[in-house]
Amino acid sequence: MLLQLQERRDELSALGADVIGVSKGADFQADELRDDDGVTYPLLVDPEESLKGALRFRRMRPWQYLVPSTLGRYVASVRHARPGKITGDVLALPGVVVIDGDLQLRYRYEGRTLADYPELDEVIAAVAAI
């Protein structure tokens, strides 16, 4: 999702929208995304996951790792991950939200499992509707 947003950042900008990424993930990973993968929008670290807390995002149950679809997503993510120590929150669920200039929540997608993101076209349509 982070790289897809980078690829379509101009399209979002034309609609009057910015993009940011927020994760509990480590600061050095944000630097790698910027330096190695060309992500140019701001990446912010949220060590206490205060934003997800405010959004009332749920956490994954540990047994969900045993569900085949989740296990498959985990294996796929490990294949693409950079070598290094485990960072972030292993039970956190991903998501995408759209917030307007008054800090009002205008779109919300909470993933139900690992790497579960909305279609980017859906996000762009939500932005266009604001």
């Binding site: 982070l2 993009v19 995002f57 759209v98 917030i99 929540l105």
Partner: protein, 39 residues
């Protein structure tokens, strides 16, 4: 939190460790990606 609700004040950190209020980051409509980690 429901659609239309307003987010409370909170701070995020730049990779350099500088605290930035969410309200300073979001001056107009913003797509916020929330990955588990920056991998």
């Amino acid at each position: 939190m429901q659609l239309g609700d307003r987010l409370p004040p909170l701070d995020l950190l730049t990779p350099d460790g500088e605290a930035v209020p969410l309200g300073d980051l979001i001056e107009r409509t913003t797509v916020v990606a929330l990955p588990r980690y920056f991998g």
